[in-house]
Symmetry: C2
Subunit: 238 residues, 2 copies
Amino acid sequence: MAKTRIPVWRLIQSDLEAEIRAGLIGPGDQLPSENDLAERFSVNRHTVRMALANLAMLGLVRARRGRGVFVEDRPPEYRITRDSKWSEIERQMNAGPSGRVVGTEERLATTAIAGHLGLAEGTPLVMVETVRGASPSLLIYGYHLFDGARFAGIGEAVARSGSFTQALAEYGVDAFYRASTWIDCRMPRPREAEALSIPLDAPVLVMMYVDSDGEGRPLLYGNAVIPSGSLIVRIDTL
Amino acid sequence: MAKTRIPVWRLIQSDLEAEIRAGLIGPGDQLPSENDLAERFSVNRHTVRMALANLAMLGLVRARRGRGVFVEDRPPEYRITRDSKWSEIERQMNAGPSGRVVGTEERLATTAIAGHLGLAEGTPLVMVETVRGASPSLLIYGYHLFDGARFAGIGEAVARSGSFTQALAEYGVDAFYRASTWIDCRMPRPREAEALSIPLDAPVLVMMYVDSDGEGRPLLYGNAVIPSGSLIVRIDTL
């Protein structure tokens, strides 16, 4: 595989990041001093400072003048239940509908997506691409696919209200539920990184999901692209 | 933030990868030809070939001589339920207990981890670090934290049997259940990348979880580090 060179400060960053995200260094805890970290990783203080500056950019730590570097609170949780929807997150954060449509295009259903939507392979679909934000530090990029015949023009409806919940209501859908969710991660594509204001070398969590109506009939297949560390997905099973 | 330069082929890779992982180009589908892709991205064919070679290394596509490049099947799903445990994955893949202990150390419970385990902050914990594999293409790196007093020596028990399920049985725990799961992603730390045979610039999915006994008392707090694309986490809510 083609290699890209990884700077040493990034290796230190990933090591500290793993401990912070695992909670092994918890919110409010102080990191070891620059000197101690330099010794532990056998590097100079400049390298340690680069790693710490990047952890701060990711919102994981904050320097307090004259006192040291401390771990920040964890990001908000997004709980996966049958009622999971973005408008719930907006409500929790006291934000209004925030959807901005960045594109609408026609796609033909692949076998996989046709299966999710209960349609025949090759059925024309409408794909609505959005950027949504519940707060300045919580932006997500989204791809939403619908049966093109039943939901013709839904891109314009979302653009008007900023909300899929409100747009679906215009098509007679007054309730919908999360049926299944799949979670994966990858690097961002260029237009996602630009819209989310993240670097191209910071990973994103991808939540793929099918929402259904009250009778369990699939309505939409969506993909939410979430910058690493801005939201933690949570599932309770007991 | 310090920038690392991203090669053009990687941008093309991330663009195609997003479409493949979303199912917009589905398993079995043929990618556009090298010439068509070179035109679409305004680059030369060499750059397209670098992107395709890396998609192949990630297991997302395969070239068939003289026919073109085709999308591979999706990775196996890991369903989050109260019965989620690694031994279930091993059973599904007809593999035996595969846990290899790479380290055991003492840690003191941070507020966050003490909360997960129902212990007081500062309680001595034992952390067992493992590499487990259900197949050659499905390796995970793990951190497992236990109450150090109750589970003294559990690292050795895991090393003997290769299985947390069997090790817990030695401590009188004959059943345990997944209580909560949190999902996040990040870049791998150096020792994870080495153990999982992945490059340092390929992201990992991190599954943090609490397992409890039949009465709902927390037993362990674990972190599973999963190479991007080797397993898709699934949650059914309807």
